[in-house]
Symmetry: C2
Subunit: 224 residues, 2 copies
């Protein structure tokens, strides 16, 4: 059941439409998924990506999605939205102090240790793929990515999630790793691949993705 | 006055020595600085970078510095250590809910929006500087970095810190931006440059840097 509720106190911003390569990857997916896991209702606020509204341009330093509002409170950066939702629900962030510290450590690991080279991989695979430098960069970047994924491969061969239970760290890590889907790097890491598939198979992920994509379907090619 | 105290409950790990290019930039600097700002005593645990000890290899997925211990609690990733220390002190993370949400939003912005292209800039400027791809990549990366720094330039031309007061977000952002020191990108952003200098001029930063460097001085070229 979708947690979208136009009357909800919590607001998550997204785009009404994005080009095909970005559909399924805009970062409103993260807080949407967290809301589904925790059963927290939220309303949507959708921006035109080609003509960004004042609330997005003025409300977020880089005019990036998502901004989140919770009552009078405003946050930005998907990591901050995950942490905020985690603090609202034991289903996302355990109460036990060490389990909570582990989840927050892995949350930052997803955003600062794992995702930076994945951003670079996305750039050489998509936006800059025809550039000479991007072709020359690929071997050393793939080697570096292998080093970043190796500890995850070992850990996730032995357990389903990063900690003893599913947390916001898994929402961050699965959505981060998804961007490598179909790449040679992922093929070399079967336990990481299976972990991403486990995340994507959760009912909360499926609902969040359906809602994330529904807005785009209502505005094909950004037309009203 | 240094907050280092061998009897402290809080432990921050660092290296006993690193090569010159890394001195002043290992990420134990972040929690050290936070401890100085908040007046929280800490003890050091120093690792040999060339022969990493079991506690680092087994205690951190990528055997990276820092690991932090607080009593029985263990954390890793410098972002997680900053958040943990922020939760211990109003001097690092304000109690007002919106000011706290702003600081946490900017904390994640430092780690996930600003630092990834700075990692890439460090790579093409240092480790890969003689590679053909690195030379070809520089113009587009500098353009991208300009877009990432532009909102900071506007904001920091009008105020001293990211929020109304100095917080963990400034510790994260200043230490992130320092890595661009002396680059063309920084020269083009005088307000960002002045912000980094303001951070580096704080007594807490100076003490943390002195203590960060002192271990290296005791073990020149990693010799006992």
């Amino acid at each position: 059941m979708s947690m979208i509720d136009p009357e909800a106190d919590l607001e998550i911003s997204g785009y009404r439409w994005v080009p095909g390569f970005a559909q399924g990857f805009v970062r409103d997916l993260r807080p949407r998924w967290a809301c589904e896991e925790a059963g927290i209702p939220y309303r949507e606020r959708l921006a035109n990506v080609a003509d960004k509204p004042a609330w997005l341009v003025e409300g977020q330093p880089w005019a990036q999605i998502p901004i989140m509002r919770d009552g009078d409170l405003t946050l930005f950066e998907s990591g901050a939205t995950l942490l905020h939702l985690g603090e609202r629900s034991d289903a996302l962030l355990p109460a036990d102090p060490q389990a909570r510290a582990d989840a927050i450590s892995w949350l930052f690991a997803a955003f600062n240790t794992v995702e930076p080279p994945i951003f670079e991989h996305g750039n050489i695979s998509l936006f800059a793929k025809d550039e000479e430098w991007a072709k020359l960069r690929r071997p050393s970047l793939e080697e570096f990515l292998g080093k970043r994924l190796a500890p995850l491969e070992r850990r996730l061969a032995a357990q389903d999630w990063l900690g003893d239970s599913f947390t916001i760290a898994d929402i961050a890590m699965v959505t981060t790793l998804r961007a490598l889907g179909g790449s040679r790097v992922m093929e070399d890491h079967p336990a990481v691949t299976a972990y991403v598939a486990r995340g994507e198979d959760r009912p909360g992920f499926r609902q969040a993705m359906a809602d994330h994509l529904a807005a785009f379907a209502r505005h094909p090619d950004n037309k009203d």
